[in-house]
Structure formats: structure tokens, C-alpha cells
């Protein structure tokens, strides 16, 4: 008896696998349903942050936004233009399950920050352009330069580079948690150390030139680097979660 169990056990389990998968497929025959949801993009944040729904349904998403731009549903690869304070409608045929990032591409310039956002501000694509946020003087050996991240800045990535040598780049990942702190980035051996930091809004980032070289810290990607722009002007604001039936 034990030898039978030994020899047949994996086969029995494999059979059970197929049976469970087959029985699961029968559930997929449920007819399609329609549903709708209202979402809002406010201060570059998606409300609600997670759009939860089920597969095999038609979903109508009513989108309101306080910023001009476009909303992009990864995976489904659907994009919709949204205009400020106008209702946009996007219909989706939910054929696939999964957790799909929702990204927003802002089309507004940074000059509008001060006038539009009273509670918090967000970086647009232009903010990560050359020198838009900060630009130091030329720093000689042992000189420093500091930049205070605005206390009301939303989660996003600020790029920076050495204007004297465009290959030397770095990133400040701003996240809305953690304590306000002072973070030092050292320039030595021809590199930023660390080159990528995580900081909360309100923190101060200080670059210290520990080399004998002259450096100039400038925000944004180095001039001529267009490829990075698309990566960084896309901000993930939430998720579309499509659960199985």
C-alpha cells in the first residue's frame, strides 16, 4: 500500500491540479457585466489610489482632474487625455486580471505651481528639465551647496547632474513618509556618493565637493538627454486592480 502511495502520489496531485484548473475555467463562463467608477486626480494623486474591479466586465471610468495631462493604464496600454476640471470618460474591457500601474503625464509647466497648489505642489515634466529647480555656483574643493526640498512636494523623483561633466548624474526620490532630515551627497572619485537618495519633503540635500575638481550642481537631466525625460515625467499615481471572478 505504501509503495502505491509513493509511486502514485505525485500523479494524484497532478490530476487534482488539472481538475482544479478545469473547474476554475468553468467559472469564466460568467456573462460580462458593466460597472462604472468615478476617479479624481488631485495634486497628482489618484483618488481612490487603487481602482478595484473584477475581470470579464466593461468598466466605465469617469475621470476628473485638477491638472491638464493624460492618464495611462499600464498593461492594458490605454491612454486618455484629461483636461482640468472637465469630465473625461474612458471605457475599458477588462479581459485580464492583475495589478496594473496607473500613470499620469502632466502637460502643465512648473510656473503654475505657485498659483495653483495651495496644499502641495508637484513637479511637471518641465521641472526635471535643465536647471528648473536649482542651480549652484561653481563649487571648488570642499565647498558645499544645499537645496531644501519644498515641504509640500508630492512623491516624485528629482534629477540632478554635474554641469561640468554631464555623465555624472543622480536622483532624489522624494517620498511622503519618513522624517525631515539633512542628507549629504559627497562628490569624490569623480562620482556622487550616494548617487540616489530617498528623502522626505522638507529635507535639505547638501552636496559636498570632496574632490579637487570643480563641479556645478544643476537639477534635471543633462542637456541633450531626451530619453530620460519620458521615464521621469511619468508619475505612477495608483493602480488598477482587476481581480479574478
Amino acid at each position: 500500500m505504501s509503495s502505491i502511495i509513493k509511486n502514485k502520489l505525485p500523479i494524484i496531485i497532478l490530476l487534482l491540479t488539472f481538475i482544479s484548473c478545469a473547474s476554475d475555467n468553468s467559472l469564466n463562463k460568467i456573462s460580462e457585466q458593466e460597472s462604472s467608477i468615478n476617479i479624481e486626480i488631485r495634486n497628482m494623486q489618484l483618488i481612490p489610489e487603487n481602482i478595484k474591479t473584477v475581470e470579464k466586465s466593461q468598466l466605465t471610468i469617469n475621470i476628473k482632474s485638477d491638472t491638464n495631462g493624460s492618464i495611462h493604464f499600464h498593461g492594458y496600454d490605454l491612454e486618455s487625455i484629461v483636461n482640468k476640471d472637465e469630465l473625461s470618460v474612458l471605457k475599458m474591457n477588462l479581459s485580464a486580471t492583475g495589478s496594473f500601474p496607473v500613470a499620469f503625464h502632466s502637460s502643465e509647466s512648473s510656473s503654475k505651481h505657485d498659483t495653483h497648489y495651495s496644499d502641495s505642489i508637484n513637479l511637471s515634466a518641465d521641472d526635471n528639465e535643465h536647471g528648473q529647480l536649482f542651480e549652484s555656483e561653481i563649487l571648488m574643493s570642499s565647498q558645499t551647496y544645499s537645496y531644501k526640498i519644498p515641504a509640500n512636494l508630492s512623491a516624485q523623483t528629482i534629477l540632478f547632474h554635474d554641469h561640468m561633466s554631464h555623465d555624472l548624474t543622480g536622483e532624489i526620490m522624494v517620498i511622503n513618509k519618513g522624517n525631515i532630515s539633512e542628507i549629504k551627497i559627497y562628490f569624490e572619485n569623480n562620482t556622487f556618493s550616494p548617487s540616489k537618495i530617498i528623502a522626505s519633503p522638507g529635507s535639505t540635500v547638501t552636496w559636498v565637493n570632496k574632490s579637487q575638481e570643480q563641479i556645478k550642481i544643476v537639477s534635471g537631466a543633462p542637456p541633450g538627454i531626451e530619453n530620460n525625460k519620458h521615464v521621469h515625467d511619468e508619475i505612477i499615481i495608483g493602480k488598477l486592480i482587476v481581480n479574478p471572478r
Binding site: S2, L9, P10, I13, T97, S99, I198, A199
Partner: protein, 477 residues
């Protein structure tokens, strides 16, 4: 002097290429997995424990060593090598070399966008993930398909006219080298995969070219057979993984396939030679890096990154992860084997470690398959458009260049069922292999059974960890 300048130039170029510009790992295709719900996790965990005790009960009543089914369905020998066989073999070999060369060339002359270039999807998704899933199911077909081996055999047989160089190289493989080449190359590979700029096609091609040149050199120095069995990381990796599969492939001294046997799955692991402790380290690194790949997508790891990245940077943080996880696995294995040694009073800790290390392989294989199942089915489709346009020049050779991914190819519920069942199956196979090994190592069945309790606890931990990782993708948060 010229050599010095040449070395400096090569080092600088290599450093420039290797320094990570943007961390991708497999990340040139997004994962859309939903984490398995708590109920699946609990059911999986409970079944693991239930099956463990059921199997222990089965083994408790056993008086004789397991008789493993070794019936061979077919075998290839000289008589069976007819024209059809030779034709098929040559076609397969040709395609293997063709795809290998195409991958290298497309990295050099094609688009530098990983999605638009044949090399990245083919190497990382189809070969490393896909072939890594097929091998444990079917067997070590890498022995036949290894393009570098095929090229070497062709050169020494048809160009140099010295077929003896296949079996015997210029020198004997140094004993002091042991398995250091595979340990070092696997660590470098794991780093390149998880931390380095691995998805960049140009970088990938430079690495592949360097690897090819070095492999050909070492095959020439030590003989292809010696090098592939002892020093070549992928041959050893696929040999271990392929031992799980249903086909056993035997090659002669000239690396010609002489036998292909059909066998019961998993039992090949019991036939692997007892390795050295260095080999145990390699195997633990292998298990640890497979787990780290999943662990790096969890919230736990993100929290560690938030803590460490500001002070030491992302690359160093992930490098530490690659070293820490295997080290933790090794320490756990050592503690368990030490306990077994104390309980049984028969064998040393080292003997027990070398005897039982392959018992953990099925769980690692199961985790690898479960973790990548939806990835290979969804992201693996990236190969379809690049087949028509391998260099990203805008060609449409087979009419597939505009193909869009079918993201609904696998339902989350099916993925959950499959993942949990595959991981539990891996656990069951591990318990069986461990028991078979115990009967070989220890003098009495009762001692063998006693030895299994600490190992079983380690296996339950490893299985639970695998389940937990699959329940924790970062997308859940």
C-alpha cells in the same frame, strides 16, 4: 607597455559598460501579478505540513530502500542514428548556434532599447527563465544545445582536425580550482541579472562575447568535457536542474549523445554524485539567489532599501542582498545538518550537508516555476515582435512586428492555484529525495527517519518562505 595600455583601455571600457545606468534586472517587461490571497497561503502552508507528516508515516513503515523506476523507454545508439535522426540533430544544432549568434550580433548592431532588440527578450526571458523552466521538466538538453560547445567541437574537429581536444585539453583541470570558477561566475551572473545593467543589449552582447571567448579558451586548456563538467557555470546549473527532468541524456568522451533515457521525474537528483562542501556553497548560492529575485519584489525589501539606499546606494544595497540571502541559507543548512549529526551520531556535519543539499533543489525549482509562470506567459510574448524585427530597424519579416501582448493569457486564479500546487509538489519531492538520500547515508532505517525531522523543518521553512514571497509582490501595496 602596449599590453598595459591595452589592459587599461579594456578595463575602462568594461567599467563604463558595466556601471549600472538604470537598474532593470528582468524589468524590461512589467509584472502584473496579483499576490496570492491569504487563504491560498494558509491552505498551501497547511497542506505542506500535512503532506510532510503523511510522507513521514509512509516512510516509517518502510523496510527497504525505495526501488526507483529505471525503465528506459528508448535509447539512442549508433544503430539508431539514421538519416532522419542526424538531420533533426543538425537542424537543432544549427538553430541553437544561429540564435546564439543572432543574440550577440543584435546587441552590437541593433536598437539599444531592450524591447526592440532580439537579444534581451531572448536571453533573459526565453533562455534564462523559459529554458530554466523546461529543463527541470524535460531534462538537461543544454548538453546538446550548448552553442559554445557546438562551436568548439566544430572548430577542433573540422578546422584544427584535433578531435582529441574535446576530451583532453592541454592541461589537466587543476584540483585546486575545484568549483571556484562556477561559484565566481554564478555570483557575477546573479549580480549582473539583479543589480547590473543586464537588460541593455550592447552590455549583454559584450558579456556574451567575453563569456564565449573565455569558455573556448578554458575548453582548449582543460578539455571541453572537463571544463563543462567542472568549470562551466551553465552546464553545471542545467545538469543539476535537468536531473529533475524525465529524460536522462548521456554523452561519451567526445561529447556525442549516446543515450537518451526516459525516467521517472525527480529521481535523477538521487543519482547526482555527492559533492564537495564548495559545491554545497555553490548550490546554496543558487537557491539563495533564486529566492532573492522574488524577495527583491516585496515590501520588506523596499523597506530595507529605504533604510540603506541613502547611505550606501542602490547597487550596493542589492549586492548585499545577493550575498546576505545565500549566506543566511547556508547558516540555516549548517545548523540543521549539525543538529542531524548530533541526533544520529553517525556522520559528520559536512557529510550530511553534502548528502542532503540536493534535497532542497525541488523546492527551488518549484519556486522558480511558480514565480515565473505568468512572467514567461505574458512577458515572454515580447519575443514575438522582435522575431520579425530582431535589430529594431522597423523590419517585418514574419508579419509579427506589430504584435501586442495578450495580458489575459493566464487568469490570476489559475496562476494562484498553479503556484501553490507547484510549490507543494516541490516540497513533497524534496521530502522524498531527502528520505532516499537518508537511507543511503545512514546505516539503519530508524536513524534515517530520525535524521529527517530537522531537515523536514528546514523544508517547511523554505516552502513557507517561497509561498510568502509569492504572496508579497510589491504591487500589492
Amino acid at each position: 607597455m602596449n599590453k598595459l595600455i591595452f589592459s587599461i583601455v579594456i578595463t575602462l571600457i568594461t567599467a563604463w559598460v558595466f556601471i549600472p545606468k538604470k537598474i532593470y534586472a528582468h524589468g524590461f517587461g512589467e509584472r502584473y501579478d496579483l499576490p496570492i490571497p491569504l487563504s491560498f497561503f494558509l491552505i498551501g502552508g497547511s497542506l505542506t505540513i500535512i503532506f510532510s507528516f503523511l510522507l513521514l508515516l509512509v516512510f516509517l513503515n518502510q523496510k527497504h530502500q525505495l526501488r526507483l523506476n529505471k525503465s528506459y523507454i528508448f535509447r539512442i545508439d549508433k544503430r539508431s542514428q539514421n538519416y532522419l535522426f542526424l538531420f533533426t540533430r543538425n537542424i537543432v544544432i544549427f538553430f541553437s548556434v544561429f540564435l546564439f549568434i543572432l543574440s550577440i550580433v543584435s546587441g552590437y548592431i541593433g536598437s539599444n532599447n531592450p524591447i526592440d532588440n532580439f537579444s534581451s527578450p531572448f536571453i533573459w526571458i526565453i533562455w534564462w527563465v523559459g529554458f530554466g523552466i523546461i529543463t527541470p521538466i524535460l531534462g538537461d538538453f543544454w548538453k546538446i544545445l550548448n552553442p559554445i560547445k557546438i562551436i568548439y567541437v566544430f572548430i577542433v574537429t573540422n578546422i584544427l582536425n584535433k578531435p582529441k581536444l574535446i576530451n583532453k585539453g592541454r592541461y589537466e583541470y587543476p584540483k585546486s580550482l575545484d568549483v571556484w570558477p562556477i561559484i565566481i561566475s554564478f555570483i557575477l551572473f546573479a549580480w549582473f541579472e539583479n543589480v547590473g545593467n543586464g537588460s541593455n543589449p550592447l552590455t549583454l552582447s559584450i558579456i556574451m562575447t567575453s563569456y564565449t571567448v573565455l569558455s573556448l579558451l578554458f575548453m582548449y586548456l582543460f578539455g571541453a568535457k572537463q571544463w563543462l563538467e567542472k568549470g562551466d557555470v551553465f552546464s553545471v546549473y542545467y545538469h543539476i536542474m535537468g536531473s529533475f527532468g524525465i529524460f536522462k541524456i548521456t554523452q561519451n568522451d567526445n561529447l556525442k549523445t549516446t543515450k537518451v533515457k526516459l525516467r521517472f521525474p525527480v529521481i535523477g537528483l538521487t543519482e547526482l554524485k555527492t559533492p564537495t562542501i564548495l559545491f554545497v556553497i555553490f548550490h546554496v548560492i543558487l537557491l539563495g539567489t533564486i529566492s532573492f529575485d522574488g524577495l527583491s519584489e516585496t515590501r520588506l525589501w523596499t523597506n530595507i532599501e529605504i533604510l540603506l539606499i541613502p547611505s550606501i546606494g542602490k547597487a550596493l544595497t542589492e549586492t548585499l542582498g545577493i550575498f546576505f540571502v545565500p549566506s543566511l541559507f547556508f547558516v540555516l543548512l549548517w545548523i540543521v545538518c549539525k543538529t542531524v549529526s548530533i541526533i544520529t551520531k553517525e556522520k559528520s556535519t559536512e557529510t550530511i550537508m553534502t548528502s542532503f543539499v540536493f534535497s532542497l533543489t525541488p523546492i527551488a525549482i518549484a519556486y522558480h516555476i511558480a514565480h515565473y509562470l505568468s512572467y514567461i506567459l505574458i512577458t515572454g510574448q515580447l519575443i514575438i515582435p522582435v522575431i520579425s524585427d530582431p535589430f529594431g530597424y522597423g523590419w517585418n519579416i514574419f508579419g509579427t512586428s506589430n504584435y501586442t501582448l495578450n495580458i489575459g493569457i493566464i487568469n490570476a486564479k489559475n496562476a494562484w492555484y498553479s503556484s501553490v500546487i507547484i510549490i507543494i509538489l516541490g516540497h513533497i519531492f524534496s521530502v522524498i529525495i531527502s528520505h532516499v538520500n537518508a537511507l543511503k547515508v545512514f546505516s539503519e532505517t530508524s536513524i534515517a527517519i530520525k535524521s529527517q525531522i530537522p531537515i523536514l523543518i528546514l523544508m517547511i521553512f523554505y516552502t513557507a518562505l517561497s509561498l510568502w514571497i509569492i504572496a508579497q509582490p510589491i504591487v500589492n501595496h
